[in-house]
Amino acid sequence: MNIPADLKYTHDHEWVRVEGSTGTIGVTDHAQKELNDIVFVDIDSGLAEITKGSQFGSLEAVKTVGELFAPVSGKVIEVNAALKDKPELINTDPYGEGWMIKVEITDLSDLDSLMDSEAYAKHLGQ
């Protein structure tokens, strides 16, 4: 299982990459493996704001649907438009091209309650 050391993780299997006050958000390798073939990414293209712990979208796979919960609160800067035609990027590159949204994090202390890679690995029972 791929769990990059430079990211922060939620119990619901989202990750955040923090650069200054910008957070890039996606789902983990574990999440994409659980869902398998993702066929549609349901994130409102006009999404303006997310609230920590609230659902901001969902991932439709053949087998099931995965809900996306915001790891932090913030203003949405960008929604990954490439996922519209290529939702499979989440399966093939969950920490890279499969990112979902970029946000301006409102309060960096939101990150304190997230897990580091070691804690997340433990959460997965590894």
Binding site: N36, D37, F40, A61, V62, K63
Partner: protein, 360 residues
Amino acid sequence: MKKTPLYKAHEKLNARLVEFAGYMMPVYYTSITAEHKAVRNSVGLFDVSHMGEVFVKGEKALDFVQQITVNDASTLFPGRVQYSAMCLENGGIVDDLLVYRLADDEFMLVINASNIDKDFTWMQKNNTFGVELNNESDEYALIAVQGPNSRTLIEKVFGTEFPMEYYHFVKHSYNGMDFIISRTGYTGELGYELYFKGDEAFSCGLWDKLFELGADLGVQAAGLGARDSLRLEMGFCLYGNDIDETTHPLEAGLGWITKLKKPAFNGKEAIVSAKEAGLKRKLVPLVTEEKSFPRHGYEVESDGKKIGYITSGTVSPVLEKGIALAYIETEYAKEGAVVNFIVRGKGTPASITKLPFIKK
């Protein structure tokens, strides 16, 4: 947790394993969509050894099977299989099953893994016929070979021809092992199911042989994920989702296997009464053009009124559309009618269509 004799083969293929009905089973190997398409276009191999096999033997074996199942087993001859169901006295479905007539006085009943203990107890309780009942579920391995190239593949492996028709079977010996090979499956494709009492070495050996000789036929291992999407594209019921002890065969669309002219069987009176009173609800196929997909448990509405719920839903890999089975009130169950299923409080339109979802 139980493991099938093919567990090592799944590990070797890096399968995603999940607990299902007490067994560690492969849900997929690489991609559910790819596995699904391999079965539709070439050939897929499924380990379904978790399924249960109960043998019924005795002078009154037929009478017993007639009493506990809804279909007419008297039409079966040795070599013939039938899809059927067992019902409670109130008409609720105990399980759906395949009935194999092995000999005049012997049957094999193939039941769902999650119901093995319940079904066997139910059979014993209903055995007022003095038949011998043997639950050999743990001894039997079962490989399903499904897809247009399935016949070519098994003929290459076994070195003989299998010209039998749909829902017929033959007994066959291979490398000293007795097989029951039936032209059955849960995919809607040409397909065969191979029953044998194999240990790990024998089972994995056969699995590897199927791969080796299937390489140029496009063989692909397929997991429970593809098994579910394949059966749903055909509209086949899944026990625990679309049918259970709270549903009866007629509302589930299983009237074609429910032979009400048969003198007596468990649940007959209740099913006849339900029919005479008029069915309150029906299991109908839904298809949606929207990018919001139907899933098990979602409610179904018409003009804001709740009229039913979805029992199975997926994204059809062939149609690339959301498809589902749903129980809805009979007055709304009209082909072509548009209903809404509710995703996170929001209605998504879907139309009532007919089965199968994919035309073959």
